[in-house]
């Protein structure tokens, strides 16, 4: 059989087997639905709740994307400024690391208060920006410094100015690193948005996290599962889209 077909089929078969086993176990052992609903019930809940789930998913995704754009602009800008000045880099580096290692959940409640309890979406975007910032920043900074030393010598030979070196060598060299950073940041932005939604609670944020909280509070476990699955699919799609964009851009850049 064709290798490509096997690669696609293998995980699908595994999922089918696991789902079938799950369904069978729920029925045979008569597990109550609020404890562990069978896949068929989850599917029914997903279909019944589809419009609401999609709208919520779109809200979460939209906030994550907004955060990704803001984080991208901020992180690239700061990396560019910092890359030009070693002292500044030394000064900024520990702060950036501190921001990265602090769990977003720990600062979320305070950010929600600062954003105003009437504006949970501001807090959500802000927190997603905070988590998405670091991978882009460190990718851009690494890339700006990871120039080929032989090309550096060539630029020396032809008497390149600082600006020529930046625009013609360092920025183009950094592109693959920046793209990699965006790929990681995309996933983190969704996580940041979801965490923030959980903390912001019922303040009117209509994202997927709120659907999960709401249905789990009501013991509508099948609906909870459906929301979690939609969330997972959304994350996977975003990751796939970013990976696709990364490949397309690199291909265009390198001609292959």
């Amino acid at each position: 059989m064709n290798r490509a077909i096997i690669d696609v089929a293998a995980p699908l078969v595994l999922i089918a087997v696991l789902v079938a086993g799950w369904e069978a176990a729920c029925r045979i052992m008569a597990i109550p639905g609020y404890f562990l609903p069978p896949p068929s019930e989850i599917a029914r809940a997903a279909v019944a709740g589809a419009p609401v789930l999609f709208e919520s998913a779109w809200n979460t995704l939209f906030m994550a994307l907004k955060a990704l754009v803001v984080a991208s602009v901020l992180a690239c800008g700061v990396a560019l400024v910092v890359a030009l000045n070693q002292t500044l880099e030394k000064a900024v580096q520990p702060l950036a690391v501190a921001l990265q290692v602090t769990p977003v959940i720990a600062i979320a409640p305070q950010v929600v208060i600062w954003a105003g309890l009437d504006h949970p979406e501001r807090a959500i975007v802000t927190l997603a920006v905070i988590v998405a910032f670091f991978p882009i920043f460190s990718g851009a900074l690494t890339g700006l410094k990871a120039t080929d030393p032989d090309l550096e010598r060539l630029f020396d030979l032809y008497g390149a100015t600082r600006w020529q070196r930046l625009w013609r060598l360092r920025i183009p060299s950094s592109v693959p690193f920046v793209l990699e950073g965006h790929k990681v940041a995309g996933g983190l932005a969704v996580i940041g948005a979801v965490v923030a939604e959980f903390v912001a609670g019922s303040g009117g944020a209509q994202g997927l996290a709120w659907r999960i909280l709401e249905s789990s509070n009501r013991l509508q476990t099948a609906r909870t599962f459906a929301a979690v699955i939609v969330l997972a699919i959304m994350g996977a799609l975003l990751h796939a889209a970013l990976r696709h964009a990364e490949r397309a851009i690199l291909k265009r850049l390198r001609g292959r």
């Binding site: 080929d148 060539l154 030979l157 183009p172 850049l253 390198r254 292959r256």
Partner: protein
């Protein structure tokens, strides 16, 4: 007239001691000199001094002062992977402030001279090793240098490609007759390329011997099969073996 020279230059690297010298080398206008020597003896260091990329610890370097008057081709093509062949070849001119359209036009000419007019739009990843090296050569020629420094430019290429390129470099050289210093490991290549071959001793490199070959450049056809070629190659091989011995 001498285009560039090294006079009693020595280079020390911190923690390593002396890497080159004392070493003398002078290249005349329109001359092709080959530099052969054991690996690590300081051939690349000598070229970096002549290119002004490095300063000697002791001794004097005299070089052509103008921008773009000295060009270097390194062992790897060192092309910008994101830029087309034409944009790569135009780089020295654009860095010098030449308007983009003019720089690109001259780059297209340089690419045509190295036989790559069809590949102007190609990115480095789309080129073979030999073609990438030709782009690198076009970039070096685009400024019409008076001194061309070639640091083992064929080392990564297969035999057929390197012979083609060697012959083409001679043809190109007849057009503007720049002075050329050509570094190589390969004795036969040195004899073929240069009218004067400088054999260096093992690190720290000094001049061990100088071998001259007669027929005018570019070489007559079948030069590689002549007695003259063989005897020069044998002298250099012997000197090279002796020069390695004298450091041990």
């Amino acid at each position: 007239m001498s285009v560039a020279s090294l006079a009693a230059v020595e280079v020390d690297y911190p923690g390593r001691g002396k890497a080159l010298g004392p070493f003398d080398l002078s290249v005349e206008e329109g001359e092709i000199v080959a530099l052969v020597g054991p690996s690590g003896c300081g051939k690349s260091t000598a070229l970096r001094l002549l290119a002004g990329l490095e300063q000697p610890t002791r001794g004097t370097v005299t070089r052509t002062p103008g921008r773009g008057e000295t060009s270097v081709v390194f062992q790897s093509p060192n092309l910008m992977p994101w830029a087309s062949a034409q944009a790569n070849a135009a780089l020295p001119l654009e860095l010098d402030g030449v308007a983009k359209t003019e720089a690109r036009r001259q780059a297209a000419d340089a690419l045509a001279r190295v036989g790559l007019s069809g590949a102007a739009a190609a990115k480095p990843a789309q080129l073979s090793g030999g073609m990438a090296m030709r782009v690198s050569l076009a970039r070096a020629l685009v400024t019409q240098p008076r001194l061309l420094l070639l640091d083992e430019p064929f080392a990564a290429l297969d035999e057929i490609t390197r012979r083609d390129l060697a012959a083409d470099i001679h043809t190109l050289w007849t057009e503007t007759r720049p002075a050329v210093i050509f570094v190589t490991h390969n004795v036969e290549e040195a004899v073929y390329m240069a009218s004067r071959v400088v054999v260096m001793s093992a690190s720290p490199g000094r001049t061990f011997s100088v071998v001259r070959t007669d027929p005018a450049l570019p070489r007559p056809p079948h030069f590689r099969t002549t007695l003259e070629f063989r005897s020069a190659a044998e002298t250099i091989s012997r000197d090279l073996a002796l020069s390695m011995g004298c450091a041990a």
